[in-house]
Amino acid sequence: MFRRGQRLLSLVAAGVAGLALLAGCGGGSSASGTTLTMWTFKEPHVKALQDAAAAFKATTGITVNITAYTPDDTFTSKVQSAAATHSLPDVMEVHAAGEDFTFGAAGLLTDLSSDIDASWKSRFLNGTADAGLVTPQIYQQSLDPKSTHLGIKTGQLLSIPFTAGTFGVIYANKAKLRAAGLDPNAIPKTWEDLLSWFKATTAKDPTGGGVNLGLSSSSTGLDWLMEPLAYSALGQAKYEALFGKDPAQNWGSANGQHVLDLYNEITPYWSPGAQTLSIDNADLGFAQGKSAFDVGGTFTMSSLQQDGMDPNNIVAFGLPPAANGAVGSAFKLAPIALTGLAITTQTKNSSAALQWLNYLTTEQVAGKFAQTAFDLPGTNLGANASKDVGPYLSSLESVFGTGDTAFNPTQNAFQSPQWDIQKAGDIVIKMSPLKQASSAAVNSQLSAYNLDSWK
């Protein structure tokens, strides 16, 4: 009886030891043979990520399977259902400084603050390393019961930068510029100069000489064009006051009216049907020659390349400031982390996942990613930048700036936590391009919406 018990004990001990060994293989430092899954919402990133995964496997033995779920709402619903069924991937590419906080607040993302040290952070472009960090200010905003970030904690680092860039980049078709008698090398210095370009190309080609922007999502008009324009016209303090509670300075005031009047000047130059275009279709239309201009971000270059447009036929530049504006010619666009890399809390391979993040954000791998995906990485490529990302992407870096004269769309602590740019966009689109409402009426409606959002 005793011997039988001993045998049973030995069997259990052997089983436990075996399981421990297996567990060690999965989550320990020796991760060779491990398979990771990674989800992204950016189709143009898939090939570049797969190339990086192949090289990563050759180095570490870890397999990474990449899957894209696109467009954004598909990605969101996929994450929702996977979160409920505990089938999240190990790693996700997420919208930085927004989606990462929402997912983190729900407990879906691992806090990376103890894993990402100062030396790792120093790899990233200036001002982007802490895009996924929950600051005391972000935490305070999250305490609103309706906040999508309710649940985050100060000090959590929920993602690290993967791609960086900015909105408010104007892409122009060189051939169409020349046909309209414009010099593609003489980049417009002011908003008014840019309008004169729009006017010239539209006059030359009324159906194919206008401006494309994915206005079927009405927030893009605000996000990518009106807000940076407002910042250049009013300066930081007055721009932020637009979203505040002071009726002398917020939407509804003369400042709001001035901004809307400026933005409304673009109305005659929208491409026919721009209000029906998705962002992807706006890019596609521009690539197909249906418009002379396309408003986007630094990331738009990758879409245009995927759509088959010759990069030699594109001139890209940042949105120029309003003439006589508060910021003046020093106006620039601040580089921000656009997407981030995050590790989910459902991973069983956190060590391997961290290795993958480390690998992706090294200078060499990030450079190769940029070349393949035609997108700017969050990793600072230093002196090799122009060589690594090529002449077209490196030219986009000239739009970047820092400090008070640079518009940073991620700095929105001055807005109500309830401010929804989509709702505001639905109001503004009635003025431009739909011409259903005057700028004064839209100013009044924005005022009402802004005040309601503070209640």
Binding site: D73, T76, S77, Q80, A105, S218, P272
Partner: protein, 312 residues
């Protein structure tokens, strides 16, 4: 026969129990499926309509009837959106069934009378129903865009004033009517089939009697055929009213509710609240809107039943 009558009650009971068990066994898979896929989701959806949730957090915040009140009048952002969407939905609910009846009844009447090429015409008229779907909605958007084939045809027919420089879906005043036409185009074939069924069920002697009494074609149609087909008309109208109330695919694919919010309908608004709300805690609002739609559909079904019964 006598053996059956003389069978002991215990044996009969056992046999009856076995039969009942066999019946239950056959019904069980469907019952289980309905319990899991139907009752569970219905209960889940109803509970969600009383909560605030974004689909990610492990817990819900209970708000009672707050979501319903927000949608109906309380929230300054959502209530106006719902009101606008309700008006658009109402327009669709009236215009689509009306168009379908106005087009499918004469077509069915004509198809029922002709002999030559009847099958060919039936096939042609039924094609939109066979082909309708996401791919066709995309095809329609290409037809209706600023440089699409419809504008091209209009300009080349000398009807340039009817063309839409912003596209038929880009102009706020033409977008909703255009979508109504597309919806009707997809549903007319079913209307034709239903009317054809009704027409073929009319007793020929009634029509012969009308003819003998001197009724012409028009008089026969308006005084005899149309009244006899009222139940069919009620069915066509109610089917399409329900469809107009709840379906949103055509709006999602062709306009996404735009330009602006000019073609947003309640079904689409519910979808947007659930999946395109910038990760906001609006799943409860989406569910509440779904339940409001359910109640309206239920009322319409009751009206439908009442109409059909009164005609019967």
């Amino acid at each position: 026969m006598a053996a059956h009558v003389l069978r002991p009650p215990a044996l009969r009971r056992r046999r009856r129990r076995r039969e009942a068990l066999t019946g239950y066994a056959f019904v069980a898979p469907a019952l289980v499926l309905f319990a899991v896929m139907g009752l569970y989701t219905i209960g889940y959806g109803l509970a969600l309509s009383f909560a605030r949730w974004n689909g990610f957090t492990p817990t819900w915040s209970w708000v009672g009837f707050g979501n319903y009140l927000d949608l109906l009048y309380r929230d300054p952002v959502y209530a106006p959106l719902v009101r606008g969407a309700a008006l658009n939905t109402l327009a669709v609910m009236i215009a689509v069934p009306l168009l379908i009846v106005l087009i499918s009844f004469p077509l069915a009447y004509t198809l029922n009378r002709i002999r030559l090429l009847r099958t060919t015409f039936r096939t042609i008229f039924f094609l939109p129903f066979v082909t309708a779907g996401i791919a066709v909605f995309y095809a329609w958007t290409y037809v209706l865009e600023p440089n699409g084939s419809l504008n091209f045809i209009l300009r080349h027919l000398g009807l340039g004033t009817l063309s839409q420089p912003q596209g038929f879906l880009g102009n706020p005043s033409t977008a909703l009517p255009t979508l109504i036409v597309v919806m009707a185009w997809g549903a007319i074939p079913v209307g034709i089939v239903l009317y054809l069924t009704g027409l073929q069920a009319i007793d020929g002697t009634v029509l012969d009697a009308a003819q003998i009494d001197g009724a012409g074609s028009f008089r026969t149609m308006t005084a005899i055929i149309w009244p006899l087909l009222r139940p069919i008309t009620a069915a066509v109208v109610m089917l399409n009213v329900r469809d107009a109330l709840q379906s949103f695919q055509v709006f999602l694919i062709m306009t996404n509710g735009g330009p602006g919010t000019d073609t947003t309908v309640l079904g689409l608004e519910s979808y947007k609240l659930a999946f395109a709300g910038n990760l906001g805690q609006t799943l409860g609002l989406a569910s509440a809107l779904g339940w409001i739609l359910f109640v309206v559909a239920l009322l319409l079904a009751a009206v439908n039943l009442r109409l059909l019964r009164s005609r019967a």
